[in-house]
């Protein structure tokens, strides 16, 4: 194999053993290459000066102690992001396939939910009652309360009976009245909140049902 001065850097960079041998042969007749080759080799030899493989027996004792302490300590909780570490071990093709499948599943479920969404003229999704609707709710609520008061008056004699059953009804009605009072106080501060109104309605319905049960017992 013949090499010349132009091959020198390439051989220094990544020469095969044959090319190195050829360069050394060439250096026998080329002073410039001989000097470069000498300097290049001597740099490697100089690196040996940085090699100091002295033992440190005390170091292992320190390492062993800290390893034991770490082993005895409870393992740190896995973070949310590290729990997704499995993703890195999946091939890109499978990652693409899974992302595609997820997108399809999301699209299908979104479409399903959209077509099956509850439709009502009053738009129950709107949690804030408009002024006209609010007035209607309050009027109806007053009528409803009045009707329930009449029902309570009818049930009053029966409720006064000194039986365990009636004592239970009285207690339940007390709890319901207390809850109704709380909710009314809250709706007073926020009359347009439909959610509170629905809760209040549920309480009234429960009171109505309880009073009807008391009257049924009388019959």
């Amino acid at each position: 194999m013949n090499v010349n001065c132009d091959d020198r850097d390439r051989i220094f960079l990544d020469g095969s053993p044959e090319e190195w041998a050829a360069l050394e042969q060439h250096a026998n007749t080329c002073a410039a290459c001989a000097e470069e080759l000498r300097a290049w080799k001597q740099l490697s030899a100089a690196a040996n000066e940085l090699r100091d493989y002295q033992e440190s027996p005390a170091l292992w004792a320190l390492i062993e102690t800290s390893l034991r302490q770490q082993q005895a300590a409870p393992p740190p909780r896995k973070s949310f992001w590290s729990s997704l570490d499995f993703w890195r071990h999946i091939s890109p093709a499978w990652q693409s396939a899974m992302v595609g499948a997820l997108a399809v599943a999301l699209a299908v479920s979104s479409g399903y939910l959209y077509t099956r969404r509850p439709v009502s003229p009053g738009d129950p999704g709107n949690k804030l009652l408009k002024t006209s609707a609010l007035a209607e709710v309050e009027r109806t609520e007053r009528d409803y309360m009045s009707a329930i008061d009449k029902l309570a008056a009818d049930a009053s004699p029966q409720l006064k009976a000194d039986t365990p059953l009636m004592a239970g009804y009285r207690e339940k009605l007390l709890v319901l009245d207390s809850a109704i009072a709380d909710l009314r106080a809250q709706t007073g501060g926020n009359p347009s909140n439909a959610h509170l109104r629905y809760q209040l309605l549920a309480m009234y319905q429960e009171k109505q049902q309880t009073l009807q049960d008391v009257l049924e017992t009388k019959r």
Binding site: C5, W20, W40, Q42, L50, D52
Partner: protein, 226 residues
């Protein structure tokens, strides 16, 4: 520093058998030779398995096998014996914490040294911050070498340490791993997460720069090595 470095009449010899086509200068006779990883694969696997099992004897075997080499690399990267020992200790703790993530995609020693190199860089950054030596590129700062036991050529070693401090961190890493610790380019590529070609190119640039730093300017008769 001029001619302090490469004009000294030291001994050297070329390896009789180049490994994988790589040419390197063998160490001085009588000095510890770097461990040949390629010839130690069964040991590598055995130590990895012992560490994976959680047995501390596995870590002790790793220390006995690679400890001095790890400490030497850390010493050359950090410039101080105390920092080097801290780095080696921290590396062992990191190995223990993350051993379950070792998949055997590289040799265990390659994986270990990757952790060591990263730990040394982290340690250097934290030490520099602690000393309020704020610098945008901490890796570019040369390690501050402390005195150590004199070798065969202390003036040469000091000149080389100073010159290494003027290389980029990347060039310094590759030079130390290849020329001092005796790793192959394939192993260095695994440790530094670069290609094998990039490792070869970096070593070439590092040696060209070192040669420029350690030798006085020469006449044009030396040709085109620069």
């Amino acid at each position: 520093m001029g001619s302090v470095g490469l004009t000294l009449p030291w001994e050297h010899k070329l390896s009789s058998v180049a490994r994988d086509g790589e040419r390197r200068v063998e160490p001085f006779e009588g000095k510890a030779e770097p461990v040949r990883i390629g010839e130690e694969l069964p040991q590598d696997a055995a130590v990895a398995a012992a560490c994976l099992s959680g047995n501390l004897q596995g870590y002790e075997r790793l220390y006995q096998w690679q400890g001095t080499r790890m400490k030497n690399l850390a010493r050359n990267l950090l410039g101080s014996q105390a920092d080097a020992e801290d780095a080696v200790q921290e590396t062992f703790l990191k190995i223990q914490r993350s051993i379950s993530g070792f998949r055997g995609q590289s040799s265990f020693v390659t994986w270990t040294f990757r952790i060591l190199v990263n730990t040394c860089h982290d340690l250097r950054r934290s030490r520099v911050r602690r000393k309020d030596q704020v610098n945008e590129d901490v890796d570019a700062l040369p390690p501050r070498m402390e005195l150590r036991a004199p070798g065969a050529h202390p003036s040469l070693r000091m000149a080389l340490e100073r010159a290494l401090g003027r290389l980029t961190a990347h060039q310094r890493d590759v030079f130390l791993l290849f020329e001092v610790e005796g790793f192959r380019h394939a192993e260095i590529a695994g440790m530094l997460e670069i290609s094998e070609t990039a490792s070869k190119n970096t070593l070439f640039q590092a040696k060209k720069n070192l040669r420029t730093m350690l030798e006085p300017p020469r006449s044009s008769a030396t040709g085109g090595a620069q």
